[in-house]
Symmetry: C2
Subunit: 438 residues, 2 copies
């Protein structure tokens, strides 16, 4: 940067988030200058197509030559809000190699290339901040990177996708079906026309990978994350959860195995959460991250997980911090995956489970069921038997069992499910859901 001249900022992307970031940079110049100690000058906005116009933004700022913009050599901070892998990846790497600090909201890129990005930032002594990549405006990256870095994190569980939380909330509070709730979310703009990335859990899986890597100081990629979405969650599941004192949430979960060399468990799935747990009351499109750690105990962070302005808030916090570092001629420590922990296969992950299935109503059936669970080392916490009437009765199975297990591995669960499916005294359609949070 020039002596006493402004710090030069380049913005990549002018969509929902980018236009909000540009608004703050252009409208709040004096405020930002007083906080940074130097003027921030937006020198260019890289866009894909010519002819982009945005109210209040000088059209001469737009350029389709994003690579030229980030490599011109005098840029202090590059803000990347394009999303997706390419061209974002090439642009961000080139920016850091040209000496610019990078602020990105790109969860997909971070969840694929965190190791490469971190190493590039450290090699070039620039900042790499990405508070906006997980849970929008909620400060969670910085707390994990800095506030909790002297502690030992035991588990992170997050509601990190507002669309699916909205859908599950409506299924719970307004008794809508999945399809009805999805339609409502789309009508209100909470869900996209193609909701796949949200409802199949892919968006949450990218965030889970980032959280797991930070929490456990190791490299975790989205492809390491076990992922089940909410498309098969039914009204019956919601009702069963309610009867057990729980609600159903799509959670991104990461914790360690109990091995001598602990491995990382990282997964996304619909989860029964006790109503007394802080995550249970997170409603609508809100996001929340619950952290359990050795010394700090239980923490929860709640707020808006998406949207242009909230995401811009997180981006701008990073921009001001990177700009302050720049003025001091330094860059913050960028965490690397120095722990080299393995990610455990999902079969080794443990949880409690709620399993329900129809059975014949005759002496000995309950004992036979219990034997199946015992054979696979799955111990039972509670068993509830209810009698089926009229249309509920299918193929002569007159009773339904609802079983809550103690902690067990997914492998053992799979053994139980396979054996129940074969058993003559069990009806078709064995349902189960994982239970987390005590």
């Amino acid at each position: 940067m020039a002596e006493n001249g402004p710090l030069k900022v380049a913005l990549l992307g002018a969509g929902v988030v980018g236009s909000q970031v540009a608004r703050v940079l252009l409208a709040e110049g004096d405020t930002l200058e007083s906080r940074v100690g130097r003027r921030l000058e937006l020198v260019g906005i890289g866009v894909r197509r010519e002819g982009i116009e945005r109210a209040g933004i000088d059209s001469s700022l737009f350029t389709t030559d994003s690579m030229g913009l980030v490599t011109r050599g005098d840029i202090d901070v590059v803000i990347e809000v394009i999303g997706g892998i390419e061209p974002a990846r090439s642009l961000v790497l080139a920016a850091m190699r040209s000496g610019a600090s990078v602020i990105t909201a790109n969860k997909a890129l971070l969840a694929q290339d965190m190791a490469k990005l971190s190493a590039t930032a450290n090699d070039n002594e620039v900042d790499l901040y990405y508070e906006a990549a997980v849970a929008g405006a909620i400060p969670i990256i910085r707390p994990l990177r800095e506030s909790l870095v002297g502690d030992e994190i035991r588990a992170v569980m997050g509601i990190v996708n507002g669309t699916t939380n909205y859908i599950l909330d409506k299924m719970t509070t307004a008794s809508l079906s999945f399809e009805e709730a999805l339609q409502q979310a789309q009508d209100l703009g909470f869900a996209e026309a193609d909701p796949t990335a949200d409802v199949e859990g892919h968006d949450a899986a990218a965030k889970a990978a980032i959280l797991a890597g930070l929490a456990f100081h190791t490299d975790v990629r989205q492809s390491d994350v076990f992922c089940e979405g909410i498309t098969s969650v039914t009204a019956d599941d919601i009702a069963a959860a309610d009867a057990m004192g729980c609600v159903v949430k799509l959670l991104a979960i990461t914790k360690l195995t109990n091995d001598d060399e602990p491995r990382v468990i990282v997964k996304v799935h619909p989860t029964m959460v006790p109503k007394t747990h802080p995550l249970a009351s997170v409603s609508g499109a809100f996001n929340a991250i619950f952290v359990d750690s050795r010394d700090a105990g239980q923490l929860m962070f709640l707020g808006a997980g998406a949207g242009g302005a909230p995401t811009a808030s997180a981006v701008m916090g990073d921009v001001v911090t990177a700009a302050r570092n720049r003025l001091r001629g330094s860059a913050a420590h960028v965490q690397t995956g120095y722990m080299k922990r393995e990610v455990a296969p999902i079969g080794d992950a443990t949880a409690r489970y709620y399993i329900s299935f129809d059975v014949e109503d005759r002496p000995g059936v309950l004992a036979a069921c219990a034997t199946v669970f015992a054979r696979h080392n799955v111990s039972l916490q509670t068993v509830q038997q209810s009698y089926l009437e009229g249309l509920e009765r299918r193929d002569g199975f007159a009773a339904r069992l609802g079983v809550m297990t103690h902690e067990a591995s997914e492998t053992d669960l799979a053994g139980v499910l396979a054996e129940l499916a074969e058993a003559s005294f069990v009806g078709t359609g064995v349902n189960y859901m994982r239970v987390e949070g005590s």
Copy 2:
């Protein structure tokens, strides 16, 4: 620091927090080294009296010459967990002038001397971190200093004292009196033998000053904070709040006035909070901070607000961050009160109010009451009249009015209260409570 040698850490104080910090520094040496990139060596523990012994801590580490310890010239990080103004103030200033970064949990000192401490850190290019000073393990200082620094904070409302939250929670959920709930808190170790600092709100006021200064980029001292404790909260107040769909919480609140040159409102008082507000469900000795900002919207941070281990977690996060900065030869930006905002007198603060009082049961009384409120520009949101029977009737006043106002200033409220106290149709004992959170 020596080339490649360990970073030298000095600890001041070996009480509840200090002994936990020492435990982590001594027991987690390898982990901390991997996170910092260099060994942290605890070189001395400053204590008041000779002969201090702590299990697992080499007695040769203890010294009563704290000033000699922090000024010996080779200390990288000084951790101050003594508390109180002196000798902490002199030690911390001397440490920074000797080139050491300072981590402190000392809310009283920060709430008195933030300007001096920040300037000394900046002048000596050392870090000053104090995450543990507000709300224990909950990361709130770093989010305000960095994550939200590109946003405009509108209001911060916090449950920042676990003792009073426990007492109010027990008064609400177990129908205990203030005295009974205090006794229970003392029995359980949540309240000290002399509970004055907690129940009178002084502890919360120091934290309110720190939060206000950070949120609004200006100097705020504890002496600027309007402070009312919970000793006069009665079972009737709790019941009245419940009837209005609210709970009573002791809140530290800071926001800005609506003036052209906004001034800072900063106050601590028992507050009626709607049950639908996120702060309402914060139970027991937990702390929580609610932040409302222009772009990020509503955020809440929840966790353990006190205790040795949680506070040590916050301290150690700061220690690792300061140590990393040290290795890069830099220090983080320390916020100064560059905005020079005034603190508004409490009379200019606005809130909604719930006011209850006995009245004569005759035609015209309601109109006369409404006239009193109107004369002082206080508009009414709801008025509830109930009839008193038997022993509830005092001096012939047969009805009780419960009034919820719209937003009004404390000066206007005081006018209403004074006039009601003089009115012949109003009984003695006009009660009121401030209402915050919509």
